[in-house]
Every structure is written in structure tokens, then in C-alpha cells.
């Protein structure tokens, strides 16, 4: 889509409707356009560039429900200058938003197939939108399984939502942590250990994987080892981003610009690159 009619580097003002503290340094912003207009439709897996006045702009995945366009939801961790400044914002404050940008989880290709959603840590944020979309038309998919790994029980994101989902009969939810105190009743171990628990027909399944790069690498490999073809597995990559338009060059991942060819990629396309250092 050619965008010549307006300057794509100019953010649109949005107002913070609500700030929700999630866990530790993770928080969710609920936004709505200042001009009262429509939120541009987005596909799950896409991201926006969020601007904090005078501080800077960062890419954050959209973690809301694509079918509920009234509000824009972004979950992020306060780990850098801009995200920390964002964490200090309150209800009623203004943010700049550009987007949505990037590729999306290939949900339409999952129709009639088993779906495995594998998330690690904050990787659950961009995948939450995918879960919403699938549950909204649940009958169109086969077995749907959510695998989630976090560092410790205190690091489990969207815990109440996970518990609600686990209560559903048409969704399998498996959660594991890397370590826990003895009071923890759930699984302990890496998220790849959950793969054997998932029920799926490898020849008729798709997988969406999101989390730290090393987690995605081993999880995608683990799913491929179970017979899911590499072109049926998708991962969400991340690189430094300044413009999100394919101009600044920062987000390059060998032949790809993550802002426009990604962030969602077929595992088949990045399989070799994932094993290399410094690409």
C-alpha cells in the first residue's frame, strides 16, 4: 500500500483510557484516538510505534482483540528509556501512535487445522490477540492448544485470563515455569517440555511461536521435530526499529526488514538465520 497522501512519520494522538499493572514491570495501556475517529483495523501479530512526548518512540505489539476495535491495547515491559517513561504515564495522558505495521499471524491459513500457540514470557502479549481471534470463531479450527512458559509463577502474564481459558473445554492450556518454590503445583521445566502434551495431527497443524529468540528457536525446532512442516510454523522476530517504514535500515534481518516483511515470519524462512550469531 503506497502512503503518499500523508506523512507516515507523524504520529496520531491517542489518549490513555486505562493503565493496567500486569506483573512486575509489565503493564498494559488501553488507548483511544484523541480525535474520536476510528482505530485503524489491525491483524494479530502487527505492531504500532508508540511515542512519548519528548522522550522517544518504540515498537510494541498489539495485544488486544481485533474484533473489538474500540480500544487499542499494548502490553510492554519497562526496560528502556521510552518504556520506563511510558510506565509513568497515567490515565488521561496523551501518546502518539503510528501504525499498524508489519505482517500478521497466518490465522486464515489455520482454518480446519489444529493450532498450537506457544508463548514464552512477554511473548504471550502479541499472541493473546491470536487467541481472541481463534476463540471468536472456534468452530473453524481443530484442536487448539496454548503452551506457555514463564520464568517463575510470579512472571506469568495474563494469569487470570489463562485460568479462564483453561476452564474452557475447547482449549487445552499448559503452563510451565523455569523454577518455582515448593508451594507451586504446576509444571516446572522449559516450555519445549510441554510440546508432547499437545494433541495435534502434525500433517494438519499450524503453530504460532513468540518469545525470546532462543525460546522460539528451540520451540519451533521441537515442533518441527514432531512433524509440523517448517512452513506451517510462524515466529515473531524483533530488531531495533526507528521508522517502521523500511527507510531507516535498523530492523534488517539479512534480506528482511522486520518492520515490513515481519515481525511474523514462516519458520522455514528464518530457520537458518536463527542458528547464526550476529545476523
Amino acid at each position: 500500500m503506497s502512503m503518499t497522501f500523508s506523512d507516515p512519520m507523524v504520529p496520531r494522538p491517542y489518549r490513555i483510557r486505562r493503565v493496567r499493572h500486569e506483573i512486575l514491570d509489565t503493564f498494559t495501556l488501553e488507548l483511544e484516538p484523541e480525535d474520536g475517529g476510528e482505530i485503524p483495523p489491525f491483524a494479530t501479530g502487527q505492531f504500532n510505534m508508540l511515542y512519548v512526548f519528548g522522550v522517544g518512540e518504540i515498537p510494541i505489539s498489539i495485544s488486544g482483540d481485533p474484533a473489538n476495535p474500540a480500544f487499542l491495547l499494548h502490553t510492554t515491559r519497562a526496560v528502556g528509556t521510552v518504556s520506563r517513561a511510558m510506565q509513568a504515564l497515567k490515565q488521561g495522558d496523551m501518546l502518539g501512535v503510528r501504525g499498524p505495521f508489519g505482517s500478521h499471524w497466518p490465522i486464515e491459513q489455520a482454518k480446519g487445522l489444529d493450532v498450537i500457540i506457544a508463548a514464552g514470557g512477554i511473548g504471550l502479549a502479541p499472541l493473546r490477540s491470536a487467541v481472541y481471534q481463534i476463540l471468536a470463531s472456534r468452530e473453524q479450527y481443530g484442536q487448539v492448544t496454548l503452551l506457555y512458559g514463564a520464568r517463575t509463577p510470579a512472571d506469568i502474564l495474563y494469569r487470570h485470563e489463562l485460568e479462564r481459558w483453561r476452564g474452557r473445554l475447547d482449549l487445552d492450556v499448559f503452563v510451565t515455569v523455569d523454577r518455582a518454590e515448593s508451594s507451586w503445583r504446576g509444571s516446572v521445566g522449559v516450555v519445549t517440555k510441554l510440546i508432547p502434551r499437545a494433541t495435534f495431527d502434525p500433517g494438519k497443524a499450524v503453530a504460532f511461536v513468540c518469545g525470546p529468540e532462543i525460546m522460539m528457536r528451540f520451540t519451533a525446532a521441537g515442533l518441527a521435530a514432531r512433524g509440523i512442516p517448517a512452513d506451517q510454523i510462524s515466529v515473531s522476530m524483533e530488531r531495533n526499529m526507528k521508522c517502521a517504514l523500511g527507510f531507516c535500515g535498523h530492523c534488517q534481518y539479512r534480506p528482511y526488514f522486520i518492520c515490513r516483511d515481519g515481525p511474523v515470519f514462516q519458520y522455514a524462512h528464518v530457520q537458518q538465520l536463527l542458528t547464526k550469531e550476529g545476523i
Binding site: 507523524v10 494522538p13 519528548g54
Partner: protein, 389 residues
């Protein structure tokens, strides 16, 4: 007195004595003329007021890590190759304010920057540089998003090209198929013919605009001898090139040699100074800076040139992806010669040789490719080489 009624592909002769009329014709039409001029012992690109601003009688001697200006024995206007500047500084501005914003009672208000359309004439563009401009046109005007700043400066651009009369010391455009002969995307193309008997320019008309410019410039018809001489000059230039880039299968060659020991070798020499990215006519990376004034009431977003050689170019939470100089050099070279093809359909390199000349340690990109090509199945850096005999 001028030369009306010319058409695309026509060729005429412009005598040296009438050369100022060409410049005047551009000025009269409201063009800001930009071209080569001598400054601080180098030939750079800047605004030209008159023919005297050109590097008349100068030539350059270039080699890896070396650039010297020398006086020629004659008064040639274009007797040199390319210098540290490229035309990208006029189209893809090194520093640009994108917008400013003002804090308001309950938020802030953004004021977009109006991109003033420019009317520039690039005077003395070489074939490699025309290719470089076309490459940047692809990046900024032909992909999903269009850069309004680039567009405003590119739209009314007039290109007065020059066929090189000598190869520069580090040139390799012939093997990159980007020169030395100017073949397309120009309004006028000049070939300087200078010997004991004459000083004139064969002018080829490229577009209707080029024809229009010559309306006010007195030219005469060419003779077949002059055409032949111009062609010979260009052929001689092509034959003078001191290096070649073998582009056979170059994309896959570099893609499959990610772990070649040559990368360690070049990393031991590379200072990651970034000179190559500054002088390269196709490098386009930028960074975006969001600033605020001391009161915190006014904010601005600026864009400025950046280089993939900086340590934080690839920074994400946890550290830079390309922390080592090896990773960064590999990124630059692989992007320029290989990934660019996947991204934009052509090589990113036009064979101008600037990166070789302006590298403080004289790293030669053609040599690096050759080294990888020749030793593709070399053992790893730690292998015991004696075992192979």
C-alpha cells in the same frame, strides 16, 4: 542564439567558449545548480555559480585509503573521478527535521514539517552515480512507503551527466555494469573532448527537458569523427579500470559463507569508523531522534544519517545483535552486495570505489569478495592446516 528544435537522442557539439551558456540556461530556468568544486584539497559537490567554480585543470589520484588532488597539464573541466561526496546529500538529506510538537494543556499538538519542493540541477553526474540515484529512488519512492522529503527534492531534479574521460584509481563500474558510459535517466550527457586542437563537448539529449535547456545554448552539429572520438574516450576509460568485482552468484556466495574465516580477517583491520557508509552513494540508513527543549514544552523529531557500523545500531533489550566488528562488517558487505538484491532487485553497489579510497585502512570490497570466493572451503580458523597436506 541557441539550439532549438532538438529531440531525445540527438547529439550536438558544445564548444568550450559557450560552456558558460549551459550553466546560465539552468540558472535562468530557476535551477539551483550543484556540482563538483574544489574545497579542502578534495573535489566535493556544492552550489555552482559559474563555470569557474568547477575543478578546472584538476585530477585525482585514488587508491585504497588514499586520495590526492593533482594539477593536470590541461584545462579539462571534468578530468577527475568521484570524491568523498555523493549526490545523496542533496536528495536524502543528512539532517532533517520531520516535525515539531508543542505541549498543550492536556496533551500535545504535532506540527508536520512542510517539505519545500526543490528545483536542483546536478551538474556533472557520472554513470555510476546515475545508477546510485536510481537505487535510492527505489528505496524511497517505489516501495510500500514513500518518503515525502526525498520526493520533494527528486521530483524536479535535472540531471546533467558526464561520461568519464578517465577511470578513477579505485573504480570498478565496468564489472558492475553501471558505467562508464551513461545510458539512461539523464537530461543531458556530456563527453569532454580535449586535445591540442580543440576543447569541446559532445552533448547527448536525453529528455525533452534536456532539449529545452539547449534552446538557449549555441551548439553545432557533430561530425562522425567527433562521435567516434567520444566513443573511444569512453572505451579507453572502461579499459583503464584497475579492479573488477566478480558478481557471479554473489548473493548465494555471501549468504552461504556467513562463517568464512575471512570475516575475522577483515574485522582485524576494520576500525568500524563508518567512512564507507558516509561516502557510499547508496547507503541510506538513518536514525530518528526525539528531542525536547530545556523547558520540556516543545519537542521535535529529527532524522539523521546513521551507519550500521555503530555499536548500538542493532541494539535491542539485552544488547546489540551485532556486537562485534566482524558482525558489523559482514552485515555491511552482505547487505550491499547480496541482501540488497533480495530487497530491491539490484545490487546496492555501483562500483564507484569510494569505500576503498576513503577507508583509512584501505579495505577493498572487491578483494574481500575474491578472497571468499577463492577459499570457500577453507578450514575454520582453529583447524590444523597441516592435516590437509
Amino acid at each position: 542564439m541557441g539550439t532549438p528544435g532538438l529531440q531525445q537522442n540527438d547529439r550536438v557539439i558544445l564548444e568550450r567558449e559557450h560552456f558558460p551558456d549551459l550553466l546560465a540556461s539552468l540558472h535562468t530556468r530557476g535551477y539551483q545548480v550543484v556540482g563538483p568544486t574544489v574545497r579542502e584539497n578534495a573535489i566535493v559537490y556544492d552550489t555552482l555559480q559559474s563555470v569557474d567554480d568547477l575543478p578546472i585543470g584538476y585530477t585525482d589520484e585514488q587508491a585504497g585509503g588514499c586520495y590526492r588532488l593533482k594539477k593536470r597539464g590541461d584545462q579539462a573541466l571534468f578530468g577527475y573521478a568521484v570524491g568523498p561526496h555523493s549526490w545523496k546529500k542533496f536528495l536524502h538529506l543528512p539532517v532533517l527535521r520531520l516535525w515539531s510538537a508543542q505541549r498543550t494543556q492536556n496533551g500535545f499538538q504535532i506540527v508536520p514539517e512542510h517539505q519545500e519542493p526543490a528545483k536542483m540541477a546536478f551538474f556533472g553526474v557520472r554513470s555510476c552515480e546515475l545508477h546510485a540515484i536510481a537505487i535510492q529512488d527505489k528505496v524511497f519512492l517505489q516501495m510500500a512507503y514513500h518518503d515525502p522529503a526525498y520526493q520533494a527534492r527528486r521530483e524536479h531534479l535535472c540531471l546533467i551527466a558526464v561520461n568519464c574521460g578517465q577511470a578513477g584509481g579505485t573504480c570498478f563500474c565496468a564489472s558492475m555494469h553501471t558505467g562508464p558510459k551513461v545510458t539512461s535517466d539523464f537530461d543531458l550527457a556530456l563527453t569532454e573532448i580535449l586535445d591540442e586542437h580543440r576543447h569541446s563537448f559532445l552533448v547527448e539529449v536525453g529528455t525533452a527537458l534536456g532539449a529545452e535547456i539547449l534552446q538557449d545554448v549555441p551548439c553545432r552539429a557533430t561530425s562522425s569523427e567527433e562521435i567516434t572520438q567520444a566513443e573511444r574516450i569512453i572505451a579507453d576509460t572502461a579499459a583503464q579500470m584497475g579492479r573488477t568485482m566478480d558478481t557471479t552468484d554473489i548473493k548465494d556466495l555471501l549468504y552461504r559463507n556467513t562463517d568464512h574465516p575471512r570475516w575475522e580477517d577483515v574485522a582485524s583491520r576494520c576500525l568500524t569508523c563508518g567512512n564507507c557508509t558516509i561516502v557510499c552513494p547508496t547507503c541510506f540508513c538513518t536514525t530518528v531522534e526525539d528531542t525536547t527543549d530545556l523547558t520540556g514544552e516543545r519537542a521535535e523529531r529529527w532524522r539523521r544519517w546513521d551507519s550500521c557500523f555503530t555499536t548500538d545500531f542493532s541494539y535491542i533489550v539485552g544488547g546489540s545483535v551485532r556486537a562485534s566488528s566482524k558482525a558489523r562488517y559482514r552485515q555491511w558487505m552482505t547487505h550491499k552486495l547480496a541482501s540488497w538484491i533480495d530487497q530491491f532487485g539490484t545490487s546496492g553497489c555501483v562500483g564507484c570505489g569510494r569505500c576503498i579510497t576513503w577507508c583509512p585502512v584501505g579495505i577493498d570490497i572487491t578483494e574481500e569478495v575474491q578472497a571468499i570466493r577463492e577459499s570457500e572451503s577453507a578450514p575454520g580458523p582453529g583447524a590444523d592446516k597441516e592435516r590437509n597436506t
